[in-house]
């Protein structure tokens, strides 16, 4: 029951009505039952595993709070359990029963136990509250990751029906549908055959396909997030944003602060910061401080922590070589930039004014987009050999006529994605300027506003692909 199906629409309408009919103090129970029903639909083994994960995090958090002298041991054991389960599920046997969203909700569970261990939040006595936090249906399958401390009150408090919030949420959901059903799915028709059989495509065709895929992945993943944020908003619950115009980034480090933001934040808080504070990193830092080498004192511990961080993100994505290469590549680019920071700073200081202009910033944005596009060449194909083949084929020949043919053969789908692509671009340009286009539409006169709503609905209906069974790109995690 993915967000884009009609069955899900009936499910959500029922949940929505019930949510605002029952007394406010029972709303969280409606959300919990809806979440359990939603996740139960994904399969009984996965459902049982999710319940067990919640039980482990709820129980260990309580133990940690009650027995502070044994807190470290309980914390280590519980985190180990989560990691072992995650690893086992990545084996060929585990992949047969791999529950949907396991990688996502496991990080939520680890985050909750860690917060209790650190003393940043109190252990929740009611297991059903922890269950709701983990299983909340808009975020259980693909995130965004939420901090228990921040989300608990929003999930557990009662919410009044707020017409403007509901309209805003519905608009956001519709935007997500447009991104997913028209843009991402239609691009899928064009690029999937190339990834399935990469030999025979060269030069510009591959570059064109990769540019399309870069847009597809963003439309798919951020479309899902739009739907998750929109639905939550309709229930009066604010959840974290996961994207902030990532393709406007001027560097890879900035890209990762704008792309899948909650994952980056999770790893920063639970891996990167603690890693920097280990004896290894602080020892290295201390050694170079004594040697009065400020440059290595800062960059070397950072490089060590970033290497561990990106390796773990790679393993989190999966044990396949392509994910590990993709994440190492991202990490390597960021580490390289860290080492080059003083060089860049000195070049920028001495460079003529044109280097500080908006034009140069635009070039930096294009450069980052190309690096991201290149990195996705390792992320998308299921085999690393396909990635290398595609990289090689780019340079074998330019193949302009082949690219023209490819465009001609896919002209129908490419034509249909033009309008949603322009909409995505406009929405992101407004967002980059910190303006919310949905709020602006909502404040328009009803005739204009409803014309826009109906036009978007017609656009989705007419142009949508028929790939509902394909699910979202990030479901595999």
């Amino acid at each position: 029951m993915t967000f884009t199906t009609l069955t899900f629409a009936y499910f959500f309408i029922a949940v929505f009505l019930l949510y605002y009919i029952v007394p406010k103090k029972w709303q969280w129970i409606v959300t919990l039952l809806a979440s359990l029903f939603f996740y139960f639909e994904t399969g009984i083994p996965g459902f049982i595993m999710m319940l067990l994960s919640v039980l482990v995090s709820w129980g260990s958090a309580l133990f940690i709070e009650k027995a502070r002298n044994k807190a470290s041991l309980i914390f280590a054991v519980s985190v180990l359990i989560f990691i072992v389960v995650l690893v086992l599920m990545r084996t060929p046997f585990g992949s047969l029963v791999m529950p949907l969203g396991l990688s996502f909700y496991t990080l939520q569970c680890i985050g909750y136990v860690t917060e209790v261990y650190r003393g940043s939040t109190d252990a929740e006595k009611n297991p059903l509250r922890v269950l709701l936090y983990v299983s909340f249906f808009p975020h259980i399958l693909q995130g965004p990751f939420e901090d228990y401390n921040e989300l608990k009150s929003r999930l557990n408090e009662g919410h009044d029906f707020d017409y403007s919030n509901v309209c805003n949420g519905a608009g956001r959901f519709a935007l997500g549908l447009l991104k997913k059903l028209v843009l991402a799915d239609r691009i899928g028709y064009v690029v999937d055959p190339v990834f399935d059989n990469a030999s025979g495509y060269y030069g510009f065709t591959i570059v064109f396909v990769m540019a399309l895929y870069t847009i597809q992945l963003y439309a798919d993943f951020s479309g899902y997030m739009d739907m998750a944020v929109g639905m939550s908003k309709m229930l009066g619950i604010e959840i974290r944003e996961n994207f902030n115009v990532p393709y406007a980034s001027k560097s890879m480090a900035e890209f990762w602060r704008r792309w899948h933001m909650s994952l980056g934040l999770w790893f920063k808080v639970y891996v990167f910061y603690p890693m920097l504070r280990t004896k290894l990193c602080s020892g290295v830092s201390f050694y170079f401080k004594k040697k009065k080498n400020k440059y290595l004192m800062k960059t070397l511990p950072t490089a060590i922590a970033l290497t561990v961080n990106w390796t773990l993100i790679g393993l989190w994505h999966g044990f396949d070589a392509n994910y590990l290469c993709y994440d190492w590549f991202c990490g390597a680019v960021i580490i390289f930039s860290e080492f080059m920071r003083p060089v860049y700073a000195s070049v920028n200081d001495k460079a003529p004014k044109v280097f500080k202009s908006k034009f140069m910033d635009a070039l930096r944005v294009v450069r980052t987009f190309i690096i991201v596009m290149f990195s996705f060449m390792m992320f998308r194909p299921t085999q690393l050999s396909t990635s290398f083949l595609m990289m090689k084929e780019i340079f074998i020949k330019t193949d302009i006529s082949g690219c023209a043919n490819f465009i001609y053969n896919n002209i129908y789908d490419l034509f249909l994605i033009m309008i949603p692509f322009v909409i995505l671009l406009v929405v992101d340009i407004f967002k980059y300027r910190e303006k919310d286009i949905l709020t602006m539409i909502h404040s328009l006169n009803p005739v204009f506003r409803w014309t826009i709503y109906i036009a978007v609905a017609v656009l989705i209906y007419v142009c949508k692909g028929d790939r509902s069974a394909a699910g979202f790109a990030y479901y595999i995690f």
Binding site: E115, R118, G119, S120, A253, K268, V269, F272, Y273, P274, L276, R277, S282, S285, K294, K298, T302, E338
Partner: protein, 80 residues
Amino acid sequence: MSREEILSKVNDVFHDVFDDDSIVVVESTTADDVEDWDSLMHITLISEIESAFGMKFQMKDVVGMKNVGEMLDIIEKAVS
């Protein structure tokens, strides 16, 4: 050590870590107000403050402090 003295010493650490003597931090200063104060510099800053004051921040404080004022609260508590 008074809060003013702590703030003055914290300012010195900022100058040293960011290589910029023109930085003046006050209670309300946040990471957005200081150029280059990103997550990497944050940890360097934390380590330098720890060695300057002979204290240790807890991880929840490292990730949770919102501005220099909150940093001063933690240092004040630790050194008093």
